[in-house]
Each structure stands twice: as C-alpha cells, then as structure tokens.
C-alpha cells in the first residue's frame, strides 16, 4: 500500500488523530489476536490521520532489507525525521502512533494468520498522559530518542544479544536497566560510559556477561551511578572521570576498555 505518492517505494509520514489512535488501539485489543489484517487504511484515512508539518518520506524496508537491529531502526528514523523540531516531535504522540502502525508488521510480525506475539499495548500506542514508564518502552519512539540523544553510544541500549523474540520488539536487559530511569537515559556521560564498558565495537554487540546480575553487571552499574550522583553531578563529568569513580567491582570491565 502506498501512503501518499512521493516515490514508488516510499510513503509520506503522517500523524494519527485521536480517533485513528482509538481505532488502532481497538484493533490491538481484539482484531490483532484474531487474525484481522493490520488496519493500514487508517494511515491515510483523513478522519484517522493528518499531515505532518513537513513532508517526510519514509520506507517500510529501506533498501528492501529488514532493519538488522533497533539501533539501525532508530538511526534511520533519526535521519528521516531530522528536518522536524526534535523537542516537538518527541511529544507528538500522534506521530509515534502513526509510525507504530506503519511499521507494525515489523514490530509484531505474524508467523501465520492467527499467531502474532503481541506485547503490552503501551509499547505500540502512546497515551496522552505520556507516563515515562510507558514512553521509554514505545517500540518506535524509544530507538529514535536513544539515537537522537546518544548517537553511536545508543548501540549499548539498542543492540541486544537475546536470541529469541522479534528483533525490533525485544528491548533487552541493558535497555531496561538504563532506560527505565529517566535521569540515566537523558545522561550522555552515563550512556557513553556504559557504551565504553559494555559494548564490543569490534563485534557490534554487548560484551559477554554485560547483562547479568553479578558484580560489575549493567544492573550494578545503574545502581552505583545513582549512588555516585549523591556526590557527583555525573552529567558534568567526562567519561574517563566517571570510569575512574567506579568502584573495584568494575575493574574487570575497565580492563577490557584499555
């Protein structure tokens, strides 16, 4: 289906109206699990969607290849949405819900007619209340925000090693531990430090053991950072400074950095 007519392979992004969002939500609640097709007509229905302030062309599968991971997805969206004011679109739930519907068959593919592995509705549809614990989990806005805020350092958040699940719908433990705390997800020093400690750039994946629970794990990292923030304003620190403040339990990880 072509949404708008900019070029043969791309579509013009729009925003879902409250009515369109309700119909998307209703389909998720019932139709999605019973084999009803994705309600893509909502994407261009003038009562259910509206144009964006600027023309933004997007593609469902750029280069006709699926997104390899959530980082690639986030980077693609960051580039495509770059002409728009990032502060404004960060709060535009209609845009994120439209994109969620547009990419729904990638976020939640159906293996057969009646088998979609649906997750909680909040990961697909943002509500006007925009509670943080829902916003950070949104499967389209989350990767876009992480890449916009952290660039390549968002890889530690968005590339995971989980072997099961849908690539674009599996958030991974590192993302949950760090992004669930708004003060951490918005902190460039902390995310850059996590990237340095836990991401293996050579193999483009988190280091083995990073998402465990033991000493020096990502879980401990999030806790220790919050303790350090009683004494240090970590956003004002450099990555090297924050690394030097981490206690001995992180020595093994620091050694991998050098």
């Amino acid at each position: 289906m072509q949404v708008g007519t900019p070029s043969p392979m791309s579509d013009v992004a729009r925003v879902l109206t409250p009515r369109g969002t309700e119909r998307f939500r209703a389909w998720l609640a019932k139709g999605a699990a019973t084999g009803e097709p994705t309600p893509r007509p909502l994407l261009i229905d003038p009562e259910c969607s509206a144009p964006l302030a600027q023309t933004i062309e997007i593609e469902a599968t750029p280069g006709e290849a699926p997104f390899a991971n959530r980082y690639d997805f986030g980077a693609y969206l960051r580039n495509k949405l770059a002409p728009l004011d990032p502060v404004e679109i960060a709060r535009d739930i209609g845009l994120w819900n439209w994109l969620s519907l547009y990419y729904f068959d990638l976020l939640c593919p159906s293996a057969s007619e009646r088998t979609r592995g649906l997750l909680a509705t909040e990961v697909y549809v943002l509500s006007p209340e925009r509670k943080y614990r829902q916003v950070f989990r949104h499967l389209v806005r989350g990767p876009w925000y992480a890449v916009r805020e952290h660039g390549e350092n968002a890889k530690v958040l968005l590339i995971h090693t989980e072997r099961s699940g849908v690539v674009l719908a599996t958030r991974g433990r590192i993302f949950e531990e760090l992004a669930s705390r708004q003060g951490i997800l918005g902190n460039r020093t902390v995310i850059a430090t996590a990237q340095r400690l836990y991401f293996d750039g050579k193999n483009n994946r988190p280091r083995l053991g990073a998402s465990g629970y033991g000493p020096g794990s990502i879980r401990r990292f999030a806790i220790v950072v919050q303790q350090l923030e009683l004494t240090y304003d970590t956003r004002a620190c450099s990555v090297d400074q924050l690394l030097s403040l981490l206690p001995r339990e992180f020595s093994e990880w620091k050694a991998k950095v050098q």
Binding site: P128, E129, K131, Y132, R133, Y232, D233, T234, A236, C237
Partner: protein
C-alpha cells in the same frame, strides 16, 4: 534516621535562599512550567563560577528533568521551563545542585533536595508553618498526611468538604481529632533512629526536633535507639502538645455556649 558523614564538605542550601513556584498553563491539559528565584545562592561560600542546575522530579516515579540556570553569580533562567517531560500524575518536587566546574569537575558543592514548589493557594503563614496545610481531592478520606519522600510533611485536607481549610484553624474538635494524629505520625519518623528513609540533616527534621524539644522542655536525645524509649518520648511530646493546645477544655467551652478559649 540516616546520619550521614559528610566527607565531601557539601553544603546544604537553606530554603530561605531560594523560591520555586509552579505555574499552571493557561491552555487546558498542557504541562505546567516553573519559575525559580535563585539570587540568594550567591550568599553561599562556594565558587561564584560554579554551575547551578534545577531538577524537577516526580515522587514515586523515575520521571525527572534538568534545567541549566547558569552560574552562582550569573543566574540565567532558561527560555523554556515547561515541565513537558514529567509524568503528570504524582507530586512534583525540585532538587537544586551547585556543581564544581573547575577544580574537581562534577563534584556537587551544595545541594537542596526534595524542595516543594510554592503553591499559590497556600498563604505565606501556612507556608512557613511547621506543618503546612493544603487541600486537594482525597476521595472519601477527610485528611491525610503527605509524608512521602524527604520533603517537609504537609497536612492534606479533602477539598470536597466545605470550609474544611477554615475549620481546621478554628474548630477545637476538628483540631483535636486530626492534628495530634498527624503529629504522632511525623514524630514516629523523626524520632526513630533506625529510620533510613529520612536524612537527619534535612531542615524540616531539625525544625521538628526543635519543636519537640520546646514541648518537652529539654533537648531531644538523638542517640536513644531503644524502641520503647522512643515510643515513650513520642507519647510524652503528644501529651504535652495536647495540654498546650487545650483541646478538650476548648471543646467544653464551645459546647457550654461560651466564647472559644484560646489555646496557649
């Protein structure tokens, strides 16, 4: 009670030096913004070039934002202080950090935590009171004590009950039924030496300890950790307060048709 060893020489920022006010949006359902008067920070003995950050956050959630207000000697209010990324349900508190930008970069030199913004609906007198009172929807409850987080406790009255904010100031029966119970809860937190949720160096904790010492007529023994001893002290303070407030005598006087007796 947490008695922290302040090994970093971090200063605490006196509430008198600052003032934060929430502003309702004129557009329905739009997020609030805030103003902050921070000129008093220049009185602190910290480098005048240290950075000043204001961080609003929502209690009981990880939702927070951060605003750069320039330096101690050069406060610059950001153009946009809309709290657009904060969760809208929950209570908004503020944290102010003064951060070293030169010698030991990133070190917090001074801090004010759990600051309540000024509520336009609360009078100056109530704001300065040891137990400020405010009103808001409480469902079917008449009152509750807002003792969440590390902010100064507040007595919350249900705004569905007509005239309750005025009656709590004049009606001895209402006062006697609500205020001692609220004070008892606060004392339980303040006096418990093993309560890890509240810092001993918070100014509201010190205010309550001074108040309790005035009632007792002797200093509060901070080191007592025997739960029975702490409970006995709490009861002694509450009885002393009831004697001073003369709740029963004032109710009798009102019931007898006489003029309301003043409390002491």
């Amino acid at each position: 009670m947490k008695r922290r060893i302040n090994s970093t020489d971090r200063k605490s920022i006196n509430r008198e030096l600052i003032s934060i006010r929430l502003i309702e949006s004129e557009i329905l359902n739009q997020p609030r913004s805030f103003t902050a008067e921070l000129g008093g920070l220049a009185e602190l003995s910290v480098p005048q070039t240290a950075r000043v950050y204001v961080e609003p956050y929502v209690t009981g959630s990880s939702s927070s934002m951060r605003f750069d207000f320039g330096t101690v000697s050069g406060i610059v209010t950001p153009a946009d202080t809309t709290l657009a990324d904060l969760d809208r349900d929950g209570r908004i508190l503020f944290r102010i950090k003064i951060v070293d930008g030169s010698a030991e970069v990133g070190k917090i030199l001074a801090l004010a935590n759990a600051l309540r913004p000024i509520d336009e609906k609360v009078s100056d007198d109530d704001r300065r009171a040891i137990l400020p009172v405010r009103s808001e929807p409480l469902g079917e409850a008449v009152w509750e004590l807002d003792l969440a987080s590390q902010a100064r406790p507040e007595l919350v009255l249900n705004n569905r009950v007509p005239g309750l904010m005025d009656r709590i100031k004049t009606d001895p029966l209402l006062q006697g039924a609500i205020i001692p119970a609220a004070i008892g809860e606060i004392l339980r937190c303040v006096l418990d030496p093993e309560n890890a949720d509240i810092d001993d160096d918070l100014d509201w904790v010190q205010d309550w300890k001074r108040w309790a010492a005035d009632i007792l007529g002797r200093p509060i023994d901070d080191e007592s950790i025997d739960p029975e001893e702490v409970e006995a002290k709490r009861r002694e303070i509450m009885e002393g307060f009831a004697r001073m407030a003369r709740f029963a005598s004032r109710i009798e006087a009102v019931d007898a048709g006489g003029d309301a007796l003043p409390n002491e």
